[in-house]
Amino acid sequence: MMRDETVRLALAPAGDATERPISIAIVAMGGQGGGVLTGWVVKLAEDAGWVAQSTSVPGVAQRTGATIYYVEMMRAQDGRKPILAQMPTPGDVDVVLASEFMEAGRSILRGIVTPGRTTLIASDHRSLAISEKSAPGLGIADSSAVTDAIGVAARQEIIFDMNALAIENGSVISSAMFGALAGSGALPFPLEAYHAVIGTGGKGAAASLRAFGAAFERTVAMAETANAEPVAPAATPAPKPDAAIPRFRDHRMDTLARRVDALELPRPAAELALRGLAKVVDFQDLDYGSEYLERLERIHQIDQMLGDATASETGHAHELTAQTAKYLANAMAYDDIVRVADLKTRAGRRQRIVDEVGAREDQILHTTEYMHPRLEELAGILPAGFARWLQRQTGLYGWLDRRIDKGRRVRTYSAGWFVLLYIVGGLRSWRRASLRHATEMAHIEAWLAQAVQAAQYDYALGVEIVKCRRLIKGYSDTHERSQSKFAKVTAAIQQLFGRDDAAKWASRLRETAIRDGEGGDLDGLIKTIRSFA
């Protein structure tokens, strides 16, 4: 299994002189057991009487940063030990083990995965980097780019979710990766040698062996499937059969569902409408669902009118309705304390937590909620007139606010707190009369009116305005900030009316607003728009 580059040197003996060690790079993140895996690989070689050397630079990378371990192994010859290098050389690495999918991508960028040489063994689960997590909105990197690159950069690829497999077997990812390494056949050692390295003693050895075995079998099976179907061209995914539009289980929904059918929307739009309908009925009641549909029907009617005129040139038919179906539902199911209390007291919620934390029958589960309602939120559910009066009594309002505005630890499943939450959740019947409801509905009407007005001149711009609803999210402070962003964006869009590229700018405004303060400069963009608008 030694690699033998037959090089015709101008000098005497070539032959053995060109043997190179087997090189293995392990790319991992801190805390993933990269060190353990490295130790196993070294022991595997040493047990077989080979010389093995590993190096690494853990340094600060040990704390969630990316790091790389490097192993070289070779037989000693006539008592002469090979001289082994201390770092991987791009273009000359035999095996790369990556414990996370983006790290697999990074190893390709390091040049240590090359088509002529490298077996890439990688887990395709994601452990998100901080920039992906903290981005407002959607910041997750595109895994398909890694898949594409692996396809062209690796000689052999073994890719599956080794993390999930390890967890299923009660172990950690290093065991599964070791199994995949064994299954890959990249190293000239028999299966028993791997077993011997993991050993039978020690903490977690049994679980390690289980995860190892499962990964080994999976890898071997993958190889067999690959061999069975030689060079099958990447099959284009078959278009999904147009499955039936989902039906509600509860017959009380039938009348409303039929109104969605009557719109005769294309499937994705119809599904959005049905899900939207479900969301608002769940939020309030059947009547509220009917209100949702009235608004949607109104937009649909306009859409039909505009669509007939614009569909042929823009291809936007029903886009306005579809986006409204989605964002109107989100807008109508606004986040108030009634909704929070309702969600927290539902029966399914407790079961979900039990499953998540793995609480057993003989154990007791409690949950504590971290809530911080302010007077604004409480006043919001009071009848509109009374709430407005209260807001005008600045002295009283301030006095009350000081009593209310503080963090509260709510023991959800103690009888007292549960009853209280249950009562708040039951305030649904008051909701329509509340100040918050009045504010939200006025906001929705204004938003839809602006969208419709825009759509009549510029269909795409109308759609963009509907999508701006995405900006509104969160509670209390966050909610206020998001509303002011929404207001800024929609006001700026108003100035774009009449421009050919208005929709493009509107979309940019929205994307920038989502990232405002975290890499986006909304005010700067608005200034730019003012300069030409």
Partner: protein, 718 residues
């Protein structure tokens, strides 16, 4: 000692003559010291030296048997000063630290030591943290060795060679009355390999002997006129003695043919990668049989002129392989040859990179260029070289560049420092940005996303001192951060004492996590663990009060974000004069988990009532804004995409690595974020009272839930 046992490693230290040691080089070095018969060892932890310190700290029995005094020094200056025991007495001693940072701290003591010279062998183990993955400024220790005249050993990355050079290094130190440095690079320290051990040696002359018959000699003290004599001694006696020893004992090595038109001079540490580079060029086999003559400098200072000249004889050109800048060795080699009117051409940084790691790739292209220019025939039938450029140019790979996110290091799951910086970020929102001088330690991660707090870091323990220009009254106050490690390293005097004395009107935040955490969780003065060999439990507040500070606030549970915020706000706004000192304490979670996890597991197994906590997110309540993550960055707090076409943005999610520290909940409460976080407490082995209460309340819960379910329209799809 941080609840982590190095018992297995300690056993390696017991290996006897002829037994094979297998393991990391830093541990081989530790064993090498015992084989060389050291009387005392000191040092300061830090990558890549921590392992040496940790293992010795756990090796009390062996050290006692051998009569070795081991100390975890307060800082590198302390460690260097410890070597003064070898000045008057024939005692071998070694100290270790991360360089160049540690060498900088130690410089005062080292310069004094090197001037007066030593009687017993004195050695500094230098963990040279240079190149990729380094956590410090990119500098070389070489300059320091030259300016103070300490011999610099740079062994080939091979356990036997390193251990052998420890023994030889002590001898060299003794014959030349000069302290020596043993330089080992990070990758070499962490390199797994093997060597044949020897028995440990118990020193003949002991520390007790020294104490019982003290000696003094004014000539060894840096005072005029002795100081002038020292310089003459260095030139006239110590340097020639060292040169003779290095040459006579063949510390430097020759490989390959004795003659040739070209040759390579290299630092010992470069050897392995040079061999691989030569192999790629078809000029060596894997076992080091090179076609090009090599002169390997296992001693890089002093340079042995006669050996250089001898190596250059008959060669047209030689290549100096010297990692890092400036090119001290290349200059030295040029001077040596010029003075002798030698005609060999010297190349080095003209074909090799001036700075950065000498990777195999860099060496391959540099050596290739050197031979191409001077002796192209040697390259013969040029084999194809490893090259990733073609693969990197593929459009699919090109595209990856903009996709793969950077992965900066961050605070661990449950880190007690996270809530401190979350609170600082919130206070910034109320009071505006403040100038923050940061320090070295885990808390420096505050400078990275998501916190982005901290403008400068000037050195370990110097967070306080580096704010000292901003101590006047008026305007916004500056905030200086330091860890407990930095505090005891020098921050108490350089930061706090200085601020008290100069009536500094600013805020000093001391982050106390019970250990020197960033370097692996070593005990320090204020550690709260009981340590049989050391005196711990000396509170920081007493030290701070002792130097005269008056405005002091303690937050003894950093997870109380509300309190943390309040205290910070008070410190930034109070009218009181002088430094405002906040001591924020909670145990390092990494060490706490190591300590507590087995205890909890055992208690549960024994049927004792135990509550396990972790956090979760109600995904229907979360709106996907991620403000919570921008105030946290906890590895266990992530986001996930829901299978719901109505939702655009992924929601927050907590995975099962959560340790239930409480930060998520506290932050969302203090920052008034959202009510989607909950803490789930699972009571293991509940008592009858727990069960009774739960049954009672769950009856209420279940009946109310059933009642509402009946009236609610179910919206699930069939």
């Amino acid at each position: 000692m941080a609840e982590r046992s190095f018992a297995k490693e300690v056993e390696h230290l017991r290996l006897g003559d002829g037994e094979t040691f297998k393991g990391e080089a830093i541990l081989a070095i530790t064993k090498g010291l015992l084989q060389a018969g050291v009387s005392y060892v000191g040092g300061y932890q830090g990558s890549p030296i921590s392992h040496l310190m940790d293992v010795l700290a756990d090796a009390k029995d062996i050290l006692d048997e051998l009569g070795v005094n081991f100390q975890s020094s307060a800082n590198e200056a302390t460690a260097a000063a410890m070597l003064s025991a070898s000045v008057m007495y024939p005692l071998r001693g070694a100290v270790a630290w991360k360089s160049t940072v540690g060498t900088n701290v130690a410089s005062d003591a080292l310069a004094n030591l090197a001037s007066g010279g030593v009687t017993g062998g004195a050695m500094v183990i230098i963990g040279e943290d240079y190149g990729e993955g380094s956590s410090i400024m990119q500098e070389r220790t070489h300059a320091f060795a030259m300016k103070s005249q300490m011999w610099l050993l740079d062994p080939r990355p091979d356990h036997s060679c390193i251990v052998d050079l420890i023994e030889k290094g002590f001898q060299l130190s003794e014959v030349s009355n000069t302290p020596v440095m043993l330089e080992v690079r990070v990758r070499t320290c962490h390199m797994h390999g093997s060597f044949v051990a020897k028995d440990n040696v118990r020193p003949v002359f002991t520390l007790e002997d020294a104490r019982n018959s003290p000696k003094r000699d004014l000539d060894r003290i840096v005072l005029p006129p002795a100081a002038y004599l020292h310089e003459q001694e260095k030139i006239l006696h110590r340097l020639p003695a060292a040169i003779n020893f290095v040459r006579d004992n063949k510390l430097n090595e020759w490989f390959g043919p004795s003659k040739g038109k070209v040759g390579i001079v290299l630092q010992g540490g470069m050897y392995n990668n040079v061999i691989r580079a030569l192999q790629y060029l078809g000029l060596s086999d894997a076992y080091g049989n090179t076609q090009v003559p090599l002169y390997v400098m296992n001693v890089t200072y002093p340079v042995i002129d006669s050996e250089i000249a001898e190596f250059a004889d008959g060669k047209d050109s030689i290549l100096m392989v010297e990692e890092g800048q400036p090119e001290y060795l290349e200059q030295a080699v040029n001077t040596i040859l010029k003075r002798r009117n030698h005609t060999a051409r010297v190349q080095g940084k003209d074909v090799l990179p001036m700075g950065g790691d000498y990777t195999v790739q860099a060496l391959m292209s540099g050596i290739g260029a050197f031979i191409e220019q001077n002796h192209p025939h040697l390259l013969g039938n040029r084999p194809p070289l490893p090259d990733a450029r073609e693969a990197l140019a593929l459009p699919e790979v090109e595209k990856l560049k903009s996709v793969v996110p950077s992965r900066p290091p961050g605070l661990c799951t449950g880190c007690p420092e996270r809530p401190i910086f979350a609170a600082m970020k919130m206070v910034n929102e109320d009071l505006g940005e403040h100038h923050v001088s940061a320090d070295i330690g885990c808390h420096l991660f505050s400078i990275l996303p998501p916190f982005n707090i901290g403008s400068t870091t000037m050195g370990f323990g110097l967070g306080g001192a580096s704010a000292s220009a901003f101590g006047q009254k008026g305007g916004k106050r500056s905030i200086a951060v330091m860890g407990d490690g930095g505090f005891w390293h020098n921050g108490l005097t350089s930061g706090i004492g200085n601020a008290v004395f100069n009536k500094h009107d600013g805020v000093f935040l001391i982050v106390d996590n019970y250990y020197s955490s960033a370097t692996g969780g070593q005990d320090i003065l204020s550690s709260r663990a009981t340590n049989g060999n050391r005196k711990t439990n000396n509170p920081i507040i007493k030290a701070v009060e002792g130097v005269g500070a008056t405005w002091i606030r303690e937050v003894d549970r950093t997870y109380d974000v509300g309190k943390m915020k309040k205290v910070l706000t008070e410190a930034l706004t109070t009218k009181e004069a002088g430094p405002k000192i906040i001591i924020a304490s909670s145990e390092c979670m990494l060490n706490k988990q190591r300590r507590v996890k087995p205890l909890v597991a055992k208690a549960i197994k024994d049927g004792k009532r135990m509550v396990k906590e972790r956090f979760g997110v109600d995904e229907d309540v979360c709106t996907g804004d991620h403000a919570c993550i921008r105030l946290s960055g906890c590895p266990s707090l992530s986001v996930k995409q829901l299978d719901d076409p109505l939702r655009d943005d992924p929601v927050a999610a907590i995975d099962n690595t959560c340790v239930g520290c409480g930060n998520c909940g506290e932050v969302s409460e203090a920052a008034v974020l959202c009510p989607s976080f909950y803490r789930a407490d699972v009571i293991h082995n509940p008592t009858w009272w727990d069960k009774f209460k739960a049954r009672l309340s769950m009856t209420v819960v279940n009946s109310l839930q059933a009642r509402r379910s009946r009236s609610r329209v179910a919206v699930e799809f069939a």
